[in-house]
Structure formats: C-alpha cells, structure tokens
C-alpha cells in the first residue's frame, strides 16, 4: 500500500519533471495566434535566395533597393531580374551542352532557357529569343508575402539600414534558404528588446537612439 503510494509519488514527480523540461521547448515551437514564425509559403516560381545571395554573393540591396530609400524594402521590379537574366537564361552546363551539340550538328547555337526561368520570361511576355511577344502583355509575378506586420505598425527599412542593422538580424540567414522562411517572430516584444539593447550597448560599435516610445512605430 505504502509502496504503491511511494511509486505513485515517484512516477508523478518524474512526469512533472519531464513536463517541466519539455514545456519550454513546446512553447518555443508552438506559435501563439498572430505569430507567423516558420511561415514558408510556396512562391510562384522557385527563386533561390541561397543561389543568388549565398552562392553568387549578390548584395540584398541590389534587388531590394527600397530598403535603403523607403520604408518598404519591396520586391524588385521584374526588369531588375532582367539586368542579369537577359544574358543568363540557363545553367552554364546546359548552355555548353547546346553549344556542343550545335557545333556537332553544324548549326548556330540556340538560346537555352531553363524551365525555371521560363516562368519569368513568360510573365514578362518574352519569346524564346527574349524579345517581346506581340500577343502577350507583361504580367507581374504575384509573390507570396512572407514578412508581414499589422497595419497599425510602421516599420521603416531605411531607418534600420541607416542605423547599421544587417538584413540577417531580422530576416535570418536568407542567403542559406532555398525558399524564404520567417525566422523571427516579429512581435512587439522582440522589436522593443532589440531597441533597448541597442540603446544600451550600441549597434556594431555605434551609439544609436532607437525609439522606445509607442509612437515610434504606432501612428
């Protein structure tokens, strides 16, 4: 009788301890309503940040130039893609293969278009030689928005970039992501903690004055 009661006590204590050790990780992995951390929607074309920002090392602000000038970083206008992709329309391997087979067949080599980029060219209304098609109007791609704040918050990219905040500080290591995922929870507490820390310790060796008033963001 006593033994079974002791067993019960031991078991329940173990269960309690297990719960205590598990709970924090449970709370971390489960989002409260409104927290979109981990959101990773499928995009209209499989654009790879890992390739462009990571492997090729293109600066984030080359495409998201709004981050330096405006409140929104913005998604690049599609003619920014064409700055490179009017020249690069397929992988080097595919282009070499086409050149080789063209040489073998004794014909001029054709432009090779990778199936992924075809989505871009189609949207821009370009034909296989990347000239505007008569029968098609350019239609912008409709990207899924990953990072979204409520309408009563005014986050300004320009202010943060000027102050020396790195893109990765909020967006995570986008240069390693095949598809972009929301890494931070973008909650007010998360914002304010960073503002307070930066005010206390400075940001990358610089003293900054990050607003901690409500009206710094809400107006």
């Amino acid at each position: 009788m006593i033994r079974s009661r002791i067993l019960t006590i031991i078991l329940s204590t173990a269960l309690l301890l297990a719960l205590i050790s598990v709970l924090p990780s449970v709370f971390r992995s489960v989002n409260l309503p409104g927290n979109q951390r981990g959101y990773e929607p499928e995009q209209p074309m499989p654009y790879s940040h890992r390739l462009h920002a990571g492997e090729l090392g293109i600066d984030c602000r080359y495409c998201h130039f709004g981050a330096e000038r405006a409140g929104n970083a913005g998604v690049p206008p599609m003619n920014v893609c064409m700055n490179c992709h009017q020249h690069v329309s397929a992988t080097l391997v595919a282009v070499r293969a086409e050149e080789k087979s063209a040489e073998a067949e004794g014909r001029p080599s054709k432009r090779v278009i990778s199936p992924r980029l075809a989505t871009l060219y189609n949207a821009l209304g370009l034909d296989a030689t990347l000239r505007p098609r008569r029968d098609a109007q350019p239609e912008p791609l409709r990207w899924k928005r990953v990072h979204e704040l409520p309408d009563f918050v005014f986050f300004n990219h320009r202010a943060h970039v000027q102050a020396g905040v790195q893109c990765q500080d909020c967006h995570g290591a986008v240069q390693t992501m095949e598809r972009v995922r929301q890494v931070s929870d973008l909650s007010m507490g998360w914002c304010v903690n960073c503002h307070r820390d930066s005010n206390a310790q400075g940001l990358r060796g610089k003293t900054v004055k990050a607003p901690v008033d409500c009206a710094g963001c809400h107006y």
């Binding site: 929607p41 000038r69 920014v80 928005r145």
Partner: protein
C-alpha cells in the same frame, strides 16, 4: 499539443454546461423546446444550450485551426519607374483648380497617386498656403460618380462618334451662319482661351460669355470705364496701412483669399512696431471672416453702405479739393465721429490707403475707384500693371445671352464646366430656353443640373489629370502637370476644344507650342527644353511687369447717387459659402462636413438673422423660413447670428445642388441613422433665386425679399453650440467676466507690455503640481498659434483631415457631437472695453499636455507620454472606454463610434503613412507624428539632428498666414521657442496646470484711442 488542450477545455466546459442544464431545467430551455414542438419541424431541435455548446466548440476549433490569415500577395512593377520608388513620396508642381484664384500647388503622390495637395511656396499667389476648398478638391479625382463616356441625347457614345457628330454639326452651323455661344466661368488659362478664340474664329457670330458665381462684374466695368481696361488691379494688402472694406470678404471668399490673407497678415506685424500694423475697417451686413478680424466693424445694409461710400467719396474729394462728387443727399448712417475717423485715417495715410467694395453695384464700384484715385492708391496699394485675371465675368453679357436664349436665337450653346441652371436665377428663363437650343453641349466632370438638360454631355478630366496653364495675374504664369492618368473615358477641356477646332494635338503639345511662341522668347534663355523643364518643375514662371502704366480717364461722377435705390424693409444677401465656395464643390463630402467658420453649421446652409430681425419674424435658430424673392421662393432654417445688420437675411450659395443627392447615406448606417440630406433629398437649399436681375448686373446684396416662418423646425448640425467668451453674469445674461481661453490685446497695451519687457503671467500659481515634471533630453515638440494671424479659414482643418485619414461621419453624427475632425477652429464672440462686438477664432487640437489628464485615466495605457513631449494615442491598445475623452479639458479627443464607410475609389486618397482606425478606438491630433518620424529618418540619413522647419505638420503647412508654428522647444532659436517669449504668449486653460505643449499668441486689435489715434505710420 495545443489542439488537445483547447479540445479538452471545450469539452469540459461543454460537459459542465450540460450537467447544469440537466440538473436544473431553465425556463428558457423549456420555452425553446415548446416552441420547436409547436413548429414541429423535426424531432431534432437545436436548443439554446446545444447551440452554445456547438458555438463554443466551433470558436475553439477556429482559434486553433486558423492561425495564419489568408496569404497576402506582393505584386512588383514590371518595369522600374525611376521617378517613383514604392513607398517614397514624389512631389509635382501643379495649379489648384477649385476656384479661379489659381494658387500654385505641390501634389504629393505615393505610388503614382496623389494623396495630398499643398501650396507651392515658390508661387506668389499661394506662398505655401492653400485654402480648405483647394485642398479638398483632391477628393474629386477619386470620385466614383464621374462621367466615363460622352453621351448624346442620353445615349452613351464613343469619342470618335462624338467628334464626328460635333464636326458635322459645327460645319452645318458654319454654313448657315448659326449663332454659337460659349458659356464658362472665368477662363484663366491663356492656352485654353486661345483655343476658344480659335473655335470662335470659325464662327463669325460666336461669342464667349464668362461669368463668376461671386460676380465682380461691376468692379471690372468700373475699371473699364475709368482706365479703358477691364481688369481688377492687383491688391496690395501688405502695403496698405489703412484698409476700408465694404462687404468685400477678402479673407474668406473674395477673389483670391489665400493671397489676400497672406498679404493682410504681412501688413500687420504683431511683434514689431505699431506703425507697421494696418488699420482695418469693415462695413458689411453679415458677419464675415474679414469682419471678424477687422479693427473696426460696422453692420450696415446695402443702401446704408452706399451712403457711407458716398460720404467717404465726398469727404475725400473735399479734402483733395476735387469737385466731381455730388453732395450726398442723405445722412451718413454712421456717427460723425466714426465717419471723421475713417476719413482722417484714409486721407492722412493717402498712398497707403485702400478702399474696397465687394458689392456688385456699378455706382458703388465707380465711387470706390474715385476714392482710390483721390487717395493715390493706384500705383501704390492698387497695382494696375500686375492686374488680376482671376475674375473676368461679365453680367451684362450673361443677361444678353439669357435674352438670346429666351428668344430662341442661339443655335449652339457650349457650356464649359459650368452650371448655369444652378447658378442663375430661374427668372432668367434659361432652363426652358435651353430645351430650345438645337445643339446644347455640356462639358462636365460630374452630371449636374445643366448637363441633365443638355443634348450632348462630354466628360472632362480632373485638374490633377491634365496639362494646364494658368495666368492668375498679368504676366504670372503657372503650369500644371498631370499626376494621375485620366479617368477612363474622359478628355481634358483643352484637347476637346482643340479637336473641335481642327487640331488633333494633345494638351501638352498645345501648351508647348503656345509657350514656345509666346512665353519663351521673353525669358532670355536659349534652350526651350531647359526653360520648359524648369518651369514644369517649379510650376511657375513669373514675368510680371514692375512699373504701372495706366492713365485714368477723367470721368464725371456727378451722376452717381441720383438713382440710388430705396432701402427695402427686409433684404437678402447671397454670399459664397466659406466652406464650399460654389456649387462646383458641393459633391465633396469633406467640405460639406466642414463647419462654416462663423455659423458653425455643417451639412446645411442657413438664413442668418440678427436677434431683432429673428424676433420680428418670430423665429429662433432652427425654425424653417420661407423666403420669397421676386416671385421665387425657397426654404431655409434660420440661425440667429451675432453681428448681423438688422432687416437683413444672409444666405450662403453653393448648397442644394443635385450633386449633393448622393449624400443620403453619408455616414454610418445603423438603426437610428438619419440621412444627411433634407426632405428635398439634397444638402441645404439652392438660393440662386435670391439674385436680383438688374439692368447690367446680377445683384447679390440688398435684394428686397419677404420672409415668413413655415412652422417647421430642423435640428441643425452645429459643431459648436456655445458662442460667447463671457461667463454668465449675475443676471445670467452673458455679461460676466471673459473666459481667458481666447485672448485679445489692443495694440497700445501690447506696445506698453513690450516696452516693459513683460511676458504674459497668468493670475494662477502653477508651481505646485501632483505630478513629477517630465525631462526632455532630446527634442521637445511644441506648437504656437498666432491668433492675430489666424483668420479662421479652416484650411488647417481640411489639411488635417486629408493628412490623417479622418473619415466623414455625416450630418446626424455631427448633430450628436460625434464629428471626427482632429482639429476644430473655435469661434467666440465677446464685447471689448468699448462695447464693440468682436469675433475671435481659435484653432484647437490636442494640446499634448505634460500633465495630461487623459493619460492618468486610461486603464490599458493606450494613451501615454513620449520622451519628446507628445501625448501618444496607441490605436491597437485602445479598448474604447472613452475615459480619456471625458477627462480632456480641451475636448479634442474623437471616438470612432462606427466603421465609417468609404468606397473603393475613396480608399485611394488615404495617406499610406497613417493608420486607418477602426470602430471603438479613440483618436486625436498626433502633431503629425508621421511627419516627425519622416524628418527624423531623413535627418539621421544625413547624420544631423532635425532642424527647425524640417517638421511641418499638415495644419502648419497649409496655413495661408503662417499662424501656426511647430518645432523643438529645446532649441533656443527655434521659431516656436522665440514665439513663446513675447508678451502675447499664453496657454489655453493654463489654470488647470496640465501644462500644454501648445501655446497661443493673443489676437491684436488696432484700436487706437486718444493720442495714439493721430499717429500714422
């Protein structure tokens, strides 16, 4: 994990509910069962408890299941627009088209759509300011009711078919020598005028008739008679030391109020020496904004004004030794001391004097010209070389056109963006005559009274969608560039007229051709492209001549006064509405909701009466009067108005048009909602029938009328229900001490205060406080408002409404004091030491108190103090208790009782930098925090701190007289800090000890008494 948790919780509570229900059946449950049994629909009935169970479970499931709101899309541009980075404002110079004044504007666009109109600081007419009507004209660009295709005989047609048809009709007209008449408001665009001339050149009999709603026909005619040129001289209020104005509301609505108000304020240097402060006397029948600011004001009827003018002319002529003015046949209606004072002021200061007359009366205007000539005003305060082109309307031509129309002599009538059926009295017979015109063409943006009776209706572009040029003064040219693509199916007036006069050029090509030929050669530049680019960028090309060359013809004045009319027992005066200006703006919800600056009535026009007149008609405010003028009648609610002359009714024009029918459902729809229109289905009443058709003019003042009470009464939407600054006296008659919230000082008292280095110290000891003082280490934002410069024009109210996405709430909500405008301009009356009635305007918005009473009562900390002295309102925290509004001594907090409807087009006008608030949230002035943040980010990017003048709140920016100053109180040389140092500075209700961040500068009146009266500057 969390799903399980929620499920379990739901099941538990559901089980609890069931057991409770089983154990103790509730009467309600039984009744439910009984009802379903009676209905007998099925054996399974959903009882209340079962329903609650199901509902609770569903809510829990939804909460857990729907974590992610629907995906939002980001749609980029296909091609980068180098001028427009998404999210960054671009500014374009343009010209306001709400009236003919032609204020230069800057259009703020975001993502290629205009969101705000501001005055262009480089333009000499607006100088950065812009009136309420001009700013609100932005809304018209997004009007859902705009015409989208031309129509002939009520049937829609295409532009090609229309143009072909008009070509054929005009050719036919030409062949048989038909009569073409073109009717328009004053045309200020030289290129458009050239196109009209080109169209008329093909029709030898054609005539272009211009008119103005606030007609200056007699004024123009007088100058034509005296100087041989039909112009209005440039008025130099900044130079004038003595201003005597008879019924000219130049600070409110007359000709070019933004320009005049700025000049008038510049001529009254409140902080300098008294010699640089003009003396302004206003003689008028109704209380006007100008009369409220005057140093001396006399309420006189039209016939009395005539006598005063005659006496002034006679008195000045005597002093000048000129015998051309007849001896007045009647006594002056003002006392001899007053007359003597006016005459002395004018004569002693001749060369710096200015006499104005706003009455459309040929004799009065000729007398005014004579007086100004005798006073050497021409060449000094009246500038004929820089003559104004803002008015060209000719009533005589209008009357002869009406005669032709009645006789059926007009074969084609072209109405250019005007509405004669509304604007002219019915007794002119235009409405019936229009049906007889074989080809009647109305060019309009929105359907109106006249377009409904026209055979051909041609849609026009909005002013923000077209290339345009404007010559507001002789030699002062301005260019407007489009900031929006034209509304589908509309075409600019210039292009339409060009097309019909044989040119297929676009408006831009027409403008460039004319500017290259006629303007560019005078510029001294060699490259036209450079000249054009620069003019488009700045929006203005100033080639005004400097020297006046006008010789006045000697005219005999002896006939004047012989036919002076007799004084009617009751007269009516029609004046432009201070909020609408005229019917063209009556489709604008912002302006209809804007309270009249004097009557404080919104969503209505009223018949203003003096106390004596009201009691003789036995009506009180709100009683509906039937007013009869020359056979026509209309009904209006009466309003007892301070400062009205006896036996006079003043009514505002511009209301009651068809365009207002759309506001039936303005404001929220709810159970007790009342339409914003009256029982006629329109807002207010059309009063054009009160215009008197005279021999050569359409008279708007001194018109004999009859009035009687209808016995009906209406609840007016009054934005302010208290009038007097005086506390109720011992007898409860409003003769007690003055409340110190809006303060006034005479120029003599100010001079002595300044000499003694006094700064204002209130009677209260404010050193003791329950609250700890705030310490502002960075910026400390503050505002000061100069009541001496403030004319009460409402420009700031509309600027705030546009900037801060403030919705329109509708007439019924205003009546319930639920208006949402963050700013209001309080209007008070008081009697000064000599017993004179004075009106004073006080802009009132959140005072951003250091010890804010609102902050201490908010249970959820939704309103808190910032480190820079702002009283912040956090919408997402607010739960809507309204404690803060109850505790605010200034009553400046506004509550969103509803979600106010906006249609899709109107959503496009919203400022993307400001949250659109939802129902149940408190809101108020934020000192335009979005502009502060924008300035901060710009300053940080340049590695500096925010400089004085970097932050321009919308109200300050729009103010024509620069009465509002905003800046950092911690900066020793900032404008706002310097303003707070003078003897005029005080804070409203400072005895409460709430320490507001907004201060006021006392209004200054130039009431020279005793010895100082003799000193002239």
């Amino acid at each position: 994990m969390s799903t399980t948790h929620f499920d379990k919780h739901t099941q538990d509570s559901a089980a609890a509910a069931t057991s409770l229900g089983d154990g103790r059946p509730h009467p309600d449950t039984r009744r439910d069962e009984g009802m379903s049994a009676v209905a007998g629909t099925s054996t399974w009935s959903l009882g209340r408890r079962a329903f609650l169970k199901a509902a609770g479970f569903s809510v829990a499931t939804l909460t857990v299941g729907c974590q992610r709101p629907p995906d939002t899309e980001v749609i980029p541009h296909v091609h980068l627009d180098p001028e427009n980075t998404p999210g960054v404002s671009a500014w374009y110079a343009s010209v306001c088209a709400a009236c003919e004044a032609g204020c230069g504007t800057l259009v703020r666009t975001r993502d290629n759509r205009p969101v705000k109109l501001e005055g262009n600081p480089a333009h000499p007419v607006s100088r950065g300011g812009l009136c309420a009507v001009g700013q609100a004209s932005l809304l018209g660009a997004y009007d859902a009711q705009r015409l989208r295709r031309p129509s002939v005989g009520g049937a829609d047609t295409t532009w090609e078919r229309l143009d072909t048809m008009i070509d054929v009709e005009l050719a036919k007209l030409r062949e048989r020598g038909g009569v073409l008449r073109i009717l328009s408001h004053t045309v200020t665009s030289p290129t458009l005028r050239a196109r009209i001339a080109a169209l008329m050149a093909e029709h030898p009999d054609a005539m272009h008739v211009e008119y103005d709603n606030d007609s200056c026909s007699a004024l123009l005619a007088a100058h034509e008679q005296m100087f041989g040129v039909r112009v209005i001289p440039g008025l130099r209020f900044d130079r004038a030391r003595t201003i005597v104005s008879l019924n000219a509301d130049f600070l409110g609505t007359w000709i070019s109020p933004v320009e005049f108000a700025a000049d008038w304020a510049a001529g009254r240097d409140s902080d300098g020496s008294a010699s640089r402060f003009s003396w302004h006397c206003q003689i008028e029948a109704r209380m006007s904004l100008t009369g409220g600011k005057a140093d001396a004001r006399y309420a006189l009827n039209a016939a009395q004004r005539f006598d005063v003018l005659w006496h002034i002319a006679y008195g000045i002529a005597l002093r000048a030794g000129d015998g051309r003015i007849h001896t007045p046949t009647r006594q002056a209606p003002l006392s001899s001391e007053v007359m003597e004072r006016i005459l002395t002021q004018l004569w002693e200061g001749r060369g710096d004097s200015l006499v104005l007359c706003g009455d459309n009366d040929p004799d009065m205007q000729r007398l005014t010209v004579a007086i100004n000539d005798l006073l050497d005003s021409y060449g000094n305060t009246l500038d004929l070389a820089r003559a104004s082109r803002q008015r060209a309307g000719n009533d005589r031509a209008v009357l002869s056109l009406a005669r032709e129309l009645r006789d059926g002599a007009v074969d084609a009538l072209l109405m250019l963006d005007c509405n004669p059926l509304y604007d002219f009295p019915q007794r002119l017979g235009i409405e019936h005559a229009l049906a007889k015109v074989p080809l009647s063409i109305a060019l309009v943006r929105m359907p109106n009274e006249s377009s409904r009776r026209s055979r051909v209706v041609v849609p026009l572009t909005h002013a923000l969608e077209e290339w345009r040029d404007v010559e507001s003064h002789h030699g002062l040219l301005a260019l407007a560039q489009p900031t929006l693509p034209p509304e589908q199916g509309s075409r600019s007036m210039l292009e339409t007229l060009a097309r019909w006069s044989g040119s297929a050029d676009t408006a831009l090509e027409l403008l460039r051709a004319r500017w290259r030929a006629e303007v560019f050669p005078g510029s001294g530049l060699t490259d036209f492209e450079e000249f054009w680019r620069e003019t488009v960028r700045t929006g203005v090309y100033d080639a005004r001549p400097t020297a006046a060359t006008a010789a006045m013809q000697r005219v005999d004045f002896t006939t004047i006064g012989a036919a002076a009319s007799t004084r009617p027992s009751l007269e009516i005066e029609v004046h432009p509405s201070a909020t609408l200006l005229d019917v063209r703006n009556s489709g604008n919800a912002w302006l209809l909701e804007l309270p009249d600056p004097i009557t404080k009535v919104s969503w209505d026009n009223v018949a203003c009466l003096s106390v004596a007149t009201a009691s003789s008609l036995s009506v009180v405010t709100g009683d509906v009067l039937r007013i009869e003028v020359d056979g026509a009648d209309f009904a209006l609610p009466a309003l007892v108005q301070e400062g009205m002359a006896d036996n006079c009714i003043a009514v505002a024009a511009g209301y009651g048009g068809r365009a207002t029918r759309r506001f039936r459902d303005a404001g929220p729809s709810w159970l007790y909602g009342v339409p914003s229109v009256n029982h006629d289905g329109v807002v207010g009443a059309r009063v054009s029938d009160a215009l008197l058709v005279d021999a050569t003019v359409l008279r708007a003042s001194g018109v004999p009328c009859r009035a009687s009470a209808t016995g009906r009464s209406e609840a007016l939407a009054l934005a302010q229900e208290y009038q007097s600054l005086h506390q109720p006296g011992p007898a409860g008659d409003g003769t007690g001490a003055k409340r110190p919230c809006a303060q006034e000082i005479t120029i003599a008292a100010l001079a002595s205060a300044a000499a003694h280095g006094d700064t204002h110290a209130g009677p209260h000891d404010l050193s003791a406080s329950m609250w700890p003082e705030h310490r502002y280490e960075g910026y400390h934002w503050g505002m000061s408002i100069d009541l001496s410069a403030c004319t009460g024009c409402n420009a700031c109210v509309i600027a705030c409404q546009v900037e801060n996405n403030i919705p329109v709430v509708g007439k019924d909500e205003v009546r319930r004091n639920r208006d949402l405008q963050w700013m209001r301009v309080d209007r008070y009356y008081h009697r000064d030491d000599t017993g004179e009635l004075r009106m004073i305007h006080q802009p009132m918005m959140c005072q951003h108190c250091d010890h804010a009473p609102c902050e201490t009562v908010c249970p959820v900390l939704a309103t808190v103090h910032s480190q820079e002295g702002l009283n912040q309102q956090v919408y997402n925290r607010c739960v809507g208790t309204r404690y803060c509004a109850n505790n605010c001594p200034y009553k400046v907090r506004r509550f969103n009782w509803f979600d106010y409807p906006r249609n899709d087009e109107e959503n496009l006008v919203l400022n993307p930098d400001v949250t659109v608030r939802m129902r149940g949230v408190m809101e108020k002035c934020s000192f335009c925090i979005q502009r502060i943040e924008d300035a901060r980010i710009r300053a940080n990017a340049e590695g500096r701190s925010i400089a004085d003048g970097d932050v321009l709140p919308a109200c300050m920016q729009s103010c024509p007289t620069k009465a509002i100053r905003f800046g950092d109180m911690n900066q020793p040389d900032s404008l706002v800090r310097r303003a707070s140092a003078g003897p005029r500075f005080y804070r409203a209700l400072e005895e409460l000890g709430v320490k507001p961040s907004v201060g006021y500068l006392m209004n200054v009146r130039n009431t020279r008494t005793g010895k100082t009266e003799d000193s002239h500057g």
